[in-house]
Amino acid sequence: MLSLLWLVPALPFAGFLALALFGRRMGAFAAAVGTGSVGLSALFALAVAAGFISSPPPARIYTQSLWDWINVGGFKPGILLYLDSLSLVMVLVVTVVGFLIHLYSAEFMEADDGYSRFFAYMNLFVGSMLVLVLAGNLLLLYLGWEGVGLCSYLLIGFWYRQPENGAAAIKAFVVTRIGDTALAIGLFFLFLNLGTLDIQKMMNMAALRWQAGSAYPEIAAALILGGALGKSAQLPLQTWLPDAMAGPTPVSALIHAATMVTAGVYLIARTNVIFTMAPAVQFAVAVIGAATLLLSAASALVQHDIKRVLAYSTISQIGYMFLALGVGAWSAAIFHLMTHAFFKALLFLGAGAVISGLDGEHDIFKMGGLRRQMPVAFWCFLTGACSLAALPLVTAGFYSKGLILFSAWQSRRAGFWLWAAGIAGALLTSIYIFRLVFIVFFGKPKTAVVKKPGPRIVIPLVALAFLSIVGGFVNMPAFFGVKDVFSRFLESVFPVPPQAASLPETELLLETVSAIVSLAGVYVAYFFFLAAPEYSEEMARTAPGRALGKFWFSGWGFDWLYEKALVSPYRWFARANRNDAVDLIYSFIAAASRFFHYGLSLSQTGKVRFYAAVLALGAVITITIAVLAR
């Protein structure tokens, strides 16, 4: 069973190749190829999972070496697949969610003239993502890492005719590449100090050779963190994600919500040994996560574009995952990664259904009352919203977020503050998502619905809604008395978190607080955006409200700052230097030569007496030198 592993990433790649070469002649068949390859891949993934669980390989690690990639001296990263419980979880998330979204796209993208191109890119993405999560060494991981970045670029700019889409795509690629470069340097550092990029050996080696808290793991962790920040859109590299919403909605669902953006979380979880040895950087991860979740939740609160709300929400939710990573709650982070994949994909797909239903309308203030016109979309979206807001007991988000908050509370370093940030974020989350629900689905209809979702859209929505609810039950808090299956499953990968002396009562208390907070958020949203919208409008009209709204709307001014500090100067310099200042040196030499040429030409007067004079002068000079310079 496990030996089928290579097929899991290979199938999407094969789909990509077929679509890239013959896609334009396939017509509607392209969707079958695209979806089919990912579907098959998902089936194989399930088969592999069954095999992995039923007869676990030794040490719960299965590796499959395909071929030698590079072998220079001791540097020999291979094309090596590596399966353990962590990557298995990721593979399942990627293939299953990926398949659902492909299915959704088959209908969603039907009218588009780039139908086959879309599926080609999507297949390439799934393939790359699978390489990323299955990579046995960091270089192969880097290949997948950049590959998904590429697909993200391609799909954000999928509708290439609009320049702003292209700009968003480039921005996404470049900003993530900044992080990637840090990661690349990290790879150099790791290889040269640990002698391998093979993840498992590397971790063993690090534990063996480095002392916890010394400069080596700190540097390595910081560099890896750089990569993760870019890919996962965390402060200060978060600016690309809202703009990335220029891509088709399924793309946002798959890449910018469920899978790619969480790759940073996966990377840090993967290299948890190093982060554990680097307490300073790990704490920075937590702080960055906390800051990001708050900042972007605030931004989500004031957006008009339905997808931008979700985009900020994604950043914020990944902030939670970083928070979890930062406090050493590895499995909590992965747990939230999984549930987030379900409910955020669901939200995006629901939003997509709404957008296509309204003929491409993105502005939530032009929507309204869709509850009746699009009941399936409404119920599914509501499920996702509940899960995101972590409404207690019945949603997956409740369990995963609760675990994170609990872990933050337990953290030895600034535990309370991290928890407080998380809980404040939870309140904001619940407010902004229900603001969205109330504005879009309640109230008066403002735009006519032109299209109802067909079965290929409904099935994924329902499936994801289902997962958004049951996905949390795999890991319940201790006081429920149910086993924390998920954490146990990941035990072989992650070290056991340092258990502070805390009682299940504490956990119960915290869960209760967060349940209350999320419900309160729903009420606040109801009050300000449905029951009494005039209050919120009033608030937004005051000077500080306007300023704050604008500030939040623009994502805390990061774009502005980067534009002024980096992009504009770079562009200005490149333009100004178009003709290459260095060339001036040579132009000057050429000009000087011309000058001397004309000067000397003037000396050739054609007058014989002048020539004789020069001759005489030359004679004088020669004699002078000969006599005086002895």
């Binding site: 030569s593 011309r594 001397f596 040429h597 004309y598 000397l600 030409s601 000396s603 050739q604 054609g606 014989v608 002048f610 020539y611 004789a612 020069v614 001759l615 005489a616 002068l617 030359g618 004679a619 000079i621 020669t622 004699i623 030198i625 000969a626 006599v627 005086l628 310079a629 002895r630």
Partner: protein, 482 residues
Amino acid sequence: MSGPDFLALLPLVLVSAMPVVVMLAIAFFRDHVLAAALTLLGLLVCFASLPFAASYAPRHITPLLIIDNYALFYMGLIFAATFAVAVLSYSYLGMLRVRREEFYVLLLLAAAGSSVLVASAHFASFFLGLETLSVSLYALVSYPSSREKAIEAGVKYLVLAAVSSAFLLFGMALVYGQLGTMEFSGIAEGAAGLRAASPAFLGAIALIVVGFGFKLAVAPFHMWTPDVYEGAPAPVSAFVATVSKGAVFALFLRYFARVDIHQMGSLVLAATVISIASMFTGNLLALLQQNVKRILAYSSIAHLGYLVVAFLASGALRVTAVSYYLVSYFIAMLGAFGVVSVLSGREGDAVDLDAYRGLSSRRPFITGVFSAMLFSLAGIPLTAGFIGKFYVIAAGAGSALWLLISMLVVNSAIGVYYYIRVIITMYSARAEGETAETALSKGAVSLGGGLLLAALTLGLVWLGVYPSPLVSLIQKTIQGLR
């Protein structure tokens, strides 16, 4: 004078007899073909006598002359170059409305004078050879007496050459006054005896250097060059650029092979200044020049500057470098002026660079030849000029003349600009509506001219690809200088 002496002297005797023979022939049968044929034949005979004479070399013949391999080598070069000039002249003169036959007499006289120069070992023979050469050249330069430019060039050349002769003579007189001998070997001994060279002696040598400098057209004694080259008939320009300079340089080297210039630091300095000045002056003046003959004139100034670099070197490479460079320079200059010559029409020489535009499509052969010559002058591989330049730089590097060869390198780069500018012009398409067509002769290249150009090109490439035989030959000439 013994029998072997006469045999060793045979080339010189022959080449001196030739003008007389041709003159007599003209006196009886005034015929262009006959005169030309006699000239060519005579030069061939002279050339053929060289190996014969070589078997009796080296040999001092009277205090005036020395026949050694070195002298014979340069005589061979002179004969060959004169032969080429004569071939070119034949078709060139065909266009002129003047008496043609005396041209060959003058040409042979000039060749005879040059031959004396390269074999001279004494101020007197030096002076005689030089003046024989010069006076013939005055007449040759202004030979097309109906051309205004030719007369102007003749007058300029005459006045300036006479002045420079006066410098040279005066210098000789002063040297003689101090050392009491006019033989080069005696002067060398005397100079070595002087040790802390006296200012008077250095001044006298400097005057001689001025005389040499004028003939070699190195800066700052170069002013006449472009005007004379432009005004003179193209074959004569070729002669002035090659034989006249080559012979003088050969003598220059012989002279200073005896008198060790490196004992006289100030002269080395003067020569260095002259060399650098020549390179820059020549190349910069040529840079944007539109007149092809003037370009070649300025180029020759620069090339003599390069040669001085080799001259300033010491060691075995010095003579090899100079000789090899001179051979490559001879071929390239003869070829270049040859091209100008065959393209020239009755009204005047083909000097306007614009007229060369688009030549490659109309005259591919000529274009190819000219390109090869220019590439050689620029020192590009596969041509003799490449090896020549390599030798010069090698000689300089071998003597650690880093300043000079750096300057040479810089100047090569400047030089490349105008050489390839000319080439580019030939290969670029003619602009619409231009009618410079008339400026260049449309007539077919004469058989002789064509063969000559082909032979020169072949020689150029041969020396560029397989320099070894010539190097061996040159190395045999070195002993005579020690």
